[in-house]
Symmetry: C2
Subunit: 468 residues, 2 copies
């Protein structure tokens, strides 16, 4: 009886939340500025959910893109860019090729510079499209929901004087943590591309600190051109970092069964695993493959052009998951508790693989050096050694045991920003301090000066007395 | 139609959560170690809710206490202490008296030392009660839910090898932030008792840094005796701070409409406003008063011995709230959007009052110096100047617009720790580093040595070449 009382309390507060959501779902206007490619895959379901809740949605994208298509969920507004679809596809292939061939640092740098100049060019085209910008201004949006990987989105938000909500896994050179003034000590927070865990030996910590400093330098170099774009378009002096710091809410695709525990700021909302849902059951063994069918293919493998990876992972007979280690796939592996064999290709995938391996929930193979024997050994290990299944099961249980679904959290905070025109109560006063003030260096210098002055006067007095 | 789709998604996920909570509510065993006084007021409803959900609850308390009584919700286990109820009541009165009379620092220190020795004595009595400790061990609890203001609770948890969940507003000398390794820069996070806001002038920042250092020193002095208690009882060397760092979840009575935005750690869960609920309607003007009725009392004031403060504040005719500035009352004022006239007495109340005043939602009076004219002026201001009502309404709207009720959040995380025997995935690796490593001082020293060595060798080479 006591138990049913408690149950009804939960149900009652649940229904209140439902009615509250229902009441607020009267419909506002939202501008969405996404990023093409896999990034759009986690943003799209949130956009669709917001549309379901009655909001009018306009998606702003370059006319050349791979995945952001027309849809009944939103109106699309496009702007012309200087590159072709073939060029983008070729760049993606190049990126893949580069991952499989050892590259000198200069080549990596030029690759980064290429991607960066692509974004910059796209940004200039967007801001230069006066007709489009004017029509956006006339649309009277309530907020902008964007992927900050395309940093131009915030310039548009500033121009339209609109609050913004970000959806992201992370930004280059910890730009997300710099912009939010979120502490991230290099002593236990491994930087991306280092492939370290949160437990580093001395020399690893040395490297991590150097990686932190050099990536900061690199980024200030890469993002420098935006400062002149900002000045020209917004008619004021501001850095891109300063603009990014104006975001109201950062929806982070983070969960600590996967990421290493670290400090957070009040305007960061964790929604890791948002796109992982358990849906339909499958009954056959399948293999997604779009190339030529090999002649010696075993009979128990069925080739298809596309398959619902998450439903496949949810099948009770899914014993292991061979994945390149993208964060989407990893969260699907975690939520379905399938141990992984990871073959990272590029970007954050090496670090992702390391995180899963460090938790004993998978094994990583080097795709440049591995043999068929290696794959076989790794697969047999994650299937037959019980510890991999136990570890992924434990991570999965922790991940799924949450008070509210990440999708509801994401929708709540986008609507919160729409309703209240931002979330200024979550912005720390640290943004009003410069670097010296933030670290109290001026205060420390002052106190040291006082102490030295006191010592000096005491010494003088002593000497004076002694002479007397 | 689109909107109803979205609504049903929310309702569906709501029902899933409800069923999940229902399934898990099979009932575990929870040991509760509370603190007497107003602290118990916010812990009791959570304990009652956990009982409603089918858990068996044992409350451990000293036999002498003011508020923790017998109840149908829990079994009570008590231990004898060396003081009497009269002594505790007298100490409370003394604390009140001291608040109204200017005190030198030494008196404040002795007051603190008194309270601290009271807790220490109580702790020794508890740990020395072998029969009680043995019976706790036999009870096979799933977790300990405690108020860490009585730091002995964690020693009991360690002895029983049980994970712990804390409920708190804050601990003396930022002990909560030291124990969780949560960054708290003194440049924008005002220390308690300084009465500063998060925007400090230079000299205020100097004072805040000094306050931070001195309170750390003071606390290491106050808590030093626990180290020997720990050694004796747990038979190992450990500091109290180390023990506190083992807490799985910190339920913080925090909300950023009231507190200043600051970094947080993954195992901190914000449940500010947990005890504020909107209940019944009232229709009369009332005044709680237990003393002698004054002869000249106006006819529109009705005296009663006790009244439901929250229901009273919820009345639409409640125009202003005169409060001493305890955090419970302030949250009730916020959730009912009633502007406040604050007359802080002791403890954190001066800082609380400052927070509300800095948000333009109330006025603070100095109870030692105020005149009837001051009260009248302040009351008229918060009632007639629209900005106070507007500000408290804005704070109230922000505070109440949340994706899940703080009570459900608190219950979820207590049960999470009971189900999973802790939450080790939320513990940062920083706990394995010492102070020098955490701040990368060894790495910086190493890099400086390398640079100096390089400069030295270069210089030597140059000199050698020049000589040739």
């Amino acid at each position: 009886m006591a138990s049913s009382n408690g149950g009804f309390h939960s149900l009652a507060s649940c229904l209140v939340l439902f009615l509250l959501l229902w009441t607020f779902a009267e419909g506002g206007k939202l501008l969405v500025i996404p990023i093409d490619g896999s990034h759009w895959l986690s943003m799209r379901p949130v956009v669709e959910q917001l549309r379901h809740r009655g909001h009018e949605i306009v998606v702003l994208a370059p006319e050349i893109n791979l995945r952001i298509g027309l849809s009944g969920y939103y109106t699309m507004k496009t702007y012309s860019v200087s590159y072709t679809k073939e060029f983008v596809e070729a760049e993606f292939k190049k990126m893949g090729y580069r991952s499989f061939t050892p590259q000198p640092f200069s080549a990596k740098l030029s690759n980064l510079a290429n991607i960066s100049s692509l974004f910059l060019d796209s940004c200039k085209r967007l801001l230069g499209n006066k007709e489009l910008i004017e029509s956006l201004g006339e649309s009277k949006f309530d907020a902008v929901f964007m992927d900050p990987f395309f940093p131009c989105g915030q310039i548009v938000a500033e121009h339209l004087s609109l609050p913004s909500v970000y959806l992201l896994r992370g930004l280059p050179c910890s730009l997300d943590f710099h912009a939010t003034l979120c502490p991230h000590p290099p002593s236990y927070i491994p930087r991306f591309f280092t492939r370290y865990t949160d437990r580093m030996r001395f020399l690893q910590r040395v490297h991590n600190l150097l990686a932190s400093l050099s990536s900061s330098l690199l980024c200030s170099f890469l993002y420098a051109p935006y400062n002149s774009v900002i000045k020209e378009f917004l008619q004021r002096e501001a850095t891109l970092l300063e603009l990014l710091s104006h975001a109201s809410i950062w929806l982070m695709k983070y969960d600590f069964v996967f990421e290493y525990p670290r400090p957070l700021m009040p305007n960061m909302v964790l929604i890791g695993g948002i796109s992982c849902t358990q849906k339909k059951a499958l009954s056959q063994v399948l293999w997604r493959y779009t190339g030529k069918v090999p002649p010696n293919m075993p009979k128990n493998i069925k080739l298809v052009k596309w398959l619902p990876q998450n439903d496949l992972l949810a099948h009770p007979k899914a014993r292991a998951f061979i994945t390149h280690g993208g964060s989407h796939g990893i969260y699907e592996g975690i939520c379905n508790a399938v141990p992984m064999v990871l073959m990272p290709l590029f970007g954050d995938q090496m670090d992702n693989a390391k995180r899963i391996e460090s938790r004993g929930a998978g094994l990583t193979l080097n795709i440049l050096e591995m043999t068929t024997q290696d794959i076989s050994t790794a697969l047999k290990a994650v299937i037959n050694d019980k510890k991999y299944k136990e570890n992924i099961k434990r991570l999965s249980d922790l991940h799924l045991d949450r008070p509210i679904h990440p999708m509801d959290l994401a929708v709540h905070w986008v609507e919160f920003v729409m309703r209240h025109k931002g979330a200024p109560h979550l912005r720390p006063a640290a943004h009003d301090l410069n670097w010296i003030q933030y670290h109290s260096l001026d205060v420390i210098a002052f106190l040291m000066a006082v102490v030295l002055l006191f010592l000096f006067i005491s010494l003088k007095c002593c000497l004076f007395c002694c002479r007397r």
